[in-house]
Amino acid sequence: MSAAAAVLRRLTFSREVVLLGVLIVLMIVMSILSPFFLTVNNLLNTSRFFVEVGLMSLGMTLIIITGGIDLSVGSNLGLSSVAIGFSFAAGLPLPLAIVLGLVVGTAAGLFNGLFITLLDLHPLVVTLGTFALFQGLAYGATGAEAVSDFPGWFAYFGQAYLGPVPGQLFIFIVAVVMVWLILSRSRFGRYVYAIGNNEEAARFSGVPIRRVKIAIYSGIGLLVGMAAVIYTSRVYTARGDSGLGLELDVISAVVLGGASIYGGSGTIAGTVLGVLIIATLRNGLTLAGVPSTWVLFVLGVLLLVAVFFNEFFRVKEE
């Protein structure tokens, strides 16, 4: 086989390139459906909406690579959000309240990690429990009320612009680079893949499984905390039900990006593409005037189709 053909073959079978193709096709379709889609304003505006999901997806990638899952990220966002808002309303200076939000998010993730590792429990059922617990705490502690009285500068996290580019996009890009470095360039990243491929073998190879798992669940907690700050700033309200339902978008993005739900594979590039595809769909369909009810249906079908093709390509590769 000639070198060119070999390169072509590798390109077409690379999951990320296929996803990129899907994204481009999708953007073309959306711009046909609505003349407002492919404008600088709109694209930048859309980027404001996907940063929160994007940050959480970065952390979820590591978790899914290890064969785990975290269903509680959406509820965690609500919990962190009310931690920020209500501590501020109670008198805590806003910068400290923001730090508190980050701490709460990380602590919640740590709780997940400890529960899963110390008791050797399946992440699905633990995070199902914390999904309900965190949301319940957020609601119960705040009496389902909301805080909306923030000083002007708080908007900078979620509503500021550097030139025409939304501020949070920079935060996202930095986070992408950092998590990517951790996953693909560090020993920690190799541990993550090792655990996903074969946990028993990893244990025998001396991988500190418990510590790695605790780290990744706490890590996503920190990312959730950051997302909570940005989200609360963007919608200008701290409510207990913020973020509910986002876990579906997050998991969809990671799975769409090529990570196997059984563990062992997945990349940051793929996840980022997954996030972009979902954001494009959501925004494009709304702009085209497609009613929300159709969007719901499309996203559900998309997840199924995406994973189906994922497995299809995976088998071809191996």
Binding site: L11, S14, E16, V17, L19, L20, L23, M27, S34, P35, F36, L38, T39, V40, N41, N42, L43, N45, R48, F49, G143, A144, E145, A146, S148, D149, A155, W180, S184, R185, S186, R187, R190, Y193, G196, N198, Y231, V235, Y236, T237, R239, D241, S242, G245, S265, T267, I268, A269, G270, V272, L273, L276, N283, T286, L287, G289, P291, S292, T293, L296
Partner: protein, 358 residues
């Protein structure tokens, strides 16, 4: 560090060369993506900075309910569509599938890109939507609210269906008729924080204090706009407090739930049930005698009026006081320079309920 020393990397348990680790999968994809995005943003049409503003192009009214998929807002849509047809303008009626302010504000921000002439919204949270609505205003789009208001400085006009006072008083009056003006009552509401529901409760209590001192609200329970929940809450409460004189269901989901509960425990006629809801949902209960009378406003008309007001905003002829002519509704009162009133609440009963279909 091992990573730097060796030329071979371990990735996912396999040995891969540096090329494979860095090349096709990771960096290249990201670079290609970045290139595409830059090309897209430079090459393809640069639209004007502002997304909206009237003039040039047909009038497009973008109207948002609290959520889609419940009869109350389906009725409003009916009226809105009727008005749009009469005025020969374009209408976009859409909202989130859940009653969440965050989803609403996101949709509003997307609508700003869509060159709406006017955006009018029934707000789940008056403050949460303020930034998005202000942005719309800055972009030259006419802003308004209907059914549930946003912060006053975030919109130009509010289309009110009935004053909170009129609604609160009317419900208490209806209940007083049926219970002789005394007793302890349960109120089933939607959520404990919805501003309009909170306001109604305030006026209900006020009316009781002033006119019916022997009536009192013993408990307020949230049904969360879930029919089964409303039924269960009412049943549990009535069983635990059998001396309750009546139940107020003050949302279009809570009232049928309360009626169903009273019917299931067989206490219709003993426990009075009234409140706010849409006629179609209540027909079976009114005809069965579980509910004598209940109130609402004509929701179809509300949607109709909201579109007319938005259109008047776009054309610049919305008055600041007095009355405003809104199609088949005739003259509608301006409560304030920024508030339009639909009219008094409508009372539904066995006599007139079949005339309505929403």
């Amino acid at each position: 560090m091992p990573v730097k020393e060796s030329k071979m990397h371990r990735k996912g348990g396999r040995n891969v060369s540096t090329r494979q680790m860095w090349g096709f999968k990771g960096v290249r994809a990201l670079l290609l993506m970045a290139l595409i995005l830059i090309a897209a943003s430079c090459g393809v049409g640069q639209q004007a900075q502002q997304g909206g503003g009237g003039g040039g192009g047909p009038t497009k009214i973008c109207m948002m309910p609290k959520l889609v998929g419940i009869p109350y807002f389906n009725a409003a849509e009916k009226g809105a569509k009727e008005a749009a047809e009469q005025l020969d303008i374009q209408l976009v009626y859409d909202g989130p599938t859940e009653a969440k302010a965050a989803l609403q504000s996101q949709m509003i921000e997307q609508w700003i890109q869509q060159q709406c002439s006017a955006i009018t919204v029934a707000a789940n949270d008056p403050n949460a939507l303020a930034p998005a609505m202000k942005k719309a205003g800055d972009a030259g789009i006419k802003t308004g609210a209907w059914d549930a208001d946003v912060a006053q400085d975030a919109r130009d006009v509010f289309v009110n269906q009935a004053t909170f006072e009129a609604i609160g008083y009317k419900m208490v009056d209806l209940m007083a008729e049926q219970t002789g003006g005394k007793g302890k009552f349960l109120v089933v509401t939607g959520s404990l924080t919805a501003p309009n529901q909170v306001a109604w409760l305030k006026y209900m209590r006020e009316r009781m204090k002033e006119k019916y001192p022997e009536m009192s609200i013993a408990s307020v329970q949230p049904g969360e706009e879930d029919l089964q929940k409303g039924i269960d809450i009412t049943k549990n409460y009535l069983q635990a407090n059998p001396d309750t004189a009546g139940v107020f269901g003050i949302t279009s989901v809570a009232l049928p739930g309360a009626a169903e509960a009273v019917k299931q425990i067989g206490r219709q006629g003993e426990v009075a049930v009234t409140g706010l809801s849409t006629p179609n949902e209540m027909k079976p209960y009114v005809n069965a005698g579980v509910v004598e009378k209940f109130a609402l406003w004509n929701t179809v008309d509300l949607g109709y009026l909201a579109v007319y007001v938005a259109n008047a905003q776009v054309e610049g002829n919305l008055p600041k006081s007095g009355t405003f002519k809104a199609g088949r509704l005739g003259k509608v009162k301006m409560l304030a320079p920024d508030e339009v009133l639909l009219g008094p609440p409508v009372v539904f009963s066995k006599e007139n309920i079949d005339q309505y279909d929403f």
